[in-house]
Subunit: 343 residues, 2 copies
Amino acid sequence: MQTISFKIASKNIQGHFGSVKDFLLQFSQTSKPIVLTESKLYPFFSRFLDGYEVIQIEGGEQHKIQATADFVISELMRLNADKSCTIIGMGGGVITDLAGYVAAVYKRGVKLILVPTSLLAMVDASIGGKNGVNIGHHKNMVGTIYQPDQIVFDIELLKTLPENEWENGFAEIIKHAVIADAAMFDWLKNNSLEYFVNDTIALEALVLKNVKLKFSIVQLDEHDRGERKKLNFGHTIGHAIENLYELPHGHAVAIGMVKESILSDKIKGRDASISIQIDELLCRYGLPVTCALNNSDVWHLIQSDKKKNGGSIDLIAVDAIGSSRVERMDMDRFFRFFNETDK
Amino acid sequence: MQTISFKIASKNIQGHFGSVKDFLLQFSQTSKPIVLTESKLYPFFSRFLDGYEVIQIEGGEQHKIQATADFVISELMRLNADKSCTIIGMGGGVITDLAGYVAAVYKRGVKLILVPTSLLAMVDASIGGKNGVNIGHHKNMVGTIYQPDQIVFDIELLKTLPENEWENGFAEIIKHAVIADAAMFDWLKNNSLEYFVNDTIALEALVLKNVKLKFSIVQLDEHDRGERKKLNFGHTIGHAIENLYELPHGHAVAIGMVKESILSDKIKGRDASISIQIDELLCRYGLPVTCALNNSDVWHLIQSDKKKNGGSIDLIAVDAIGSSRVERMDMDRFFRFFNETDK
């Protein structure tokens, strides 16, 4: 098992690349952790979880709500979990977000280990400490930033992932490439979803590259005041349409990235070559790049977005593939350009 | 207005001593904050709150629950409060705890100002960033540690405080004296509740002394791993009996301090002179020092206490008035001595 250490503020975080089975076998001998996972996934992992207490919840974005957090907390109390306990969140982004939120607030914070089981959770959701639950159509309206102690990346877990889930992960990988890594953009362009699905070594290298990239950004700005905002590329529009149209997260972000990059083009009064490149790469990885939107519904949600600050909003402007910038703009101006981006 | 700055981790916190009316008049010109307060208190403050959005909740420990936090969050959303908003928690400990918790989790954290209106909230609850809600009889089972940006201490607000509330505040003041300030213990011993109630200058000096004392401890140990645990003196037993017997917080802590100091005496095999001094000072300030307890009920709650770690618990051992130490002890041993402390 390869272990990489990251430091965010004063907290040390270990990222382990290797078998989750080995990790759990070793871990259960030193501590009494409580596993939080999805009922649907439990049968696949139950063989690793001998001797662990397990709390199962229903998966899916519709269960990422306060009522589920309340249930998990009542289960922790039933199990007499004390301040020294460790919560292991094992699942996709919904589970890692819920596990993080509960670990942050239960007894004012307990230890947290994340075992992401989807590509999206490996390259994005499990890293950086953001957690939360949704309220109505509003994503992550309530949550904290709380870093895990350890994250276990086991590429073998991805083998049973449905196609839809692969696409979701690639939306965030393409986002990373667009905002900060032109070489990765080219690597993706010269290959395909099938290549990474079938070549475990290439896939592990890709995951590692994305984990390091995201950590390097979060290390500069844990609390989302500058550099980290770049990771919101595609998410201002993406979050609004995700719950409104019940789209998978990656699909919503893909459409959001195209919309936001067209917006960048229009604001700068330049040609569409950058947004076209992004559009093409997303298509190559099976992601949608457009859908029928009701602009006023979307706008209503954008106005209550966490990323809004008073009368302005931070747009992530792509200057070139691999290079981006946070640009604060007036909400009215954003809205005017947003209305003009219809394809 | 006198302003004192404190730094906890990397966060600067300003403590203002002076008129809350002046503070609010000045503040409303620069920002659009939202005030959280108790319905019962609102009529007293409404004249300061022209132009402020106000969320009112019912006061009392029984409302310090997740459902109230959920309600406040839904109100913030109704008011379109964005990431740049400021929440002003104006009230006693229940309000400052709830305001802190909501500010910590709403959109993953917004700005927070506390205006404690009770003596207890001024010298204790508003300082140090601990917040939370209760679950059943379990105090602060869910919460975070989240520092406010500013705290306003207006001694004039205490003029209408009922007697019961004065006693609650003095329980924490006596706690501070016992664990860390022998000179303050003597000052309290040579005076009385009536003296401080009627002498505003002495009272302001007492509040300032306690604010500084608590900040100095929290600065050393924000996350309750060592020094800060001393502030739990009286609270291990206190928290258990508070909700079980529906006692005011200060009464429960007073009884807890006496019980825990007798426990210290017994463990050290020394005479009872320290616990008698504590007992006498508490009586002088109108606080109860004993009540009929069902030891097994109390023990059941202590076992699920946040301060418990695996099979051991941290007892705050008082070595002398003004000097204390955190002593980790076996739960079984604690229980044996606890059963022997009946007066």
